[in-house]
Amino acid sequence: MNLFVEGILWALDPSHYGGRNGIETRVEQHLLISLGVLAVASLIAIPLGYAIGHTGRGRSLAIGVSGAIRALPTLGLLIIIALIVNVGLLAPFIALVVLAIPSVLAGAYAGFEAVDRRAIDAARAVGMTELQIVGRVEAPLGLPLLIGGLRTASLQVIATAVLADYVGGGGLGHFIFLGLKTNDYPQMLAGSIIVIVLAIASEAVFSIVQRLVVPAGVSAGRPQDVRVRSTRSRTAPG
């Protein structure tokens, strides 16, 4: 029996479910951490990205800073933060938010930049305020790219959130770090496999959402496949 099969069997073993260190508990923690990180990163990066995309100012600064942040090794960052704020969930949470911000930021401003300038000019010319242009024109038209940014961020965060347990923050890292310490490779592998499954599931969910948010008028094609009712039933773009 090879190691890979052992890992799968470990993940399916009923005795590894239930209790504080049960797989389902750890999955739940892992997902909660990831969602929380995405939410906080979005709160920071989306308004910032919208501001950059709308005004066209600060773009090169944002690219530079994003690049620098992306180059930071998350493990190193985690340890530095943990030394400052102590062990627990806060340090990995901050490190993961820092990891997620560049992708979300890029999605937000790229979405705005992709909007046809003439549509924005027209919106302004008929008397929309700048906020209305953002809310009624740029945000809906830029949404697919923003979701794309969230998709990338989500993948990175789910994969990297195993580090949380390195400093006692919980999540699926538990099985990997425990397995490593005790030479229990099936357990390590089981942890990895579950993380991979979550990552693939996240990709699947986001790719569906990404299709759903393409505005109907943009995906609606040539006159021969006209939908007379304003359904938002969606065909995949291009």
Binding site: A119, A122, V137, L141, P215, G217
Partner: protein, 277 residues
Amino acid sequence: MIEFCSVTKQFPGGTLVVEDFSLVIPSRKTTVLVGSSGSGKTTLLRMINRMVDPTSGRIEIDGEDTALLEPVALRRRIGYVMQNSGLLPHLTVINNVATVPVLNRVPKKQARQDALLLLDTVGLDRSLADRYPSQLSGGQQQRVGVARGLAADPNILLMDEPFGAVDPIVRAELQTELLRLQTELDKTVVFVTHDIDEAFLLGDQVVILEKGGRIAQVGSPTEILSAPATDFVATFIGADRGKRELSIRSSPSGDILVDADGRAAGVLIDSAGGPAL
């Protein structure tokens, strides 16, 4: 009445697009600004609704200095129709037309009702109401653009080369429609084009612009055609090439009008409407 009082516009970088421009645009008439690229005609148009602010000088609407008006409020009471329709791609035709009334907090149902009436006004079938701009032809999109421009029932309608991107047949159709609309609606229309024939067709007052927004000549089409003020105007309207000097020539199939080069330009009909004999 819209009045430009020695308006100058210098873009950042120093290009002087419009220099010391003064003009009175009468109410309830169509004024056409015509000139080649670089004549500043679009800039002049966009200064009326403050999409562009002048570097110096004043623009008054019915005696009110527009610089003192809030741009957003000003734009909502001025209709604007642009080239390539400028429709919002994610909104249906009806919602595009109702954009401004909805911004002005007209109840949604009412705005929708009014928008349907406007589709009738611009000659669009109501069955198109729930389609998206990408599902319409260029001519239909342009009609939707006009309907949107009229939605807030503005006194002033600004049109920036609205028929520039459609084919000649559709363009002629839209031009005729605009003439019909204008007799019905009686708006102050300011129209920008580089097509002198379009200018003569639509304009009560035609303003021929040279580089830097200098006025070469202002007048009715008749005045300009009968007495071009300068060589530039003569060249621009084609008078120097004999395009405007028509004469009758007999041909086996009947009399035709030819220009100075002898090219056929049309047929002569008598005032009763039939072909001249």
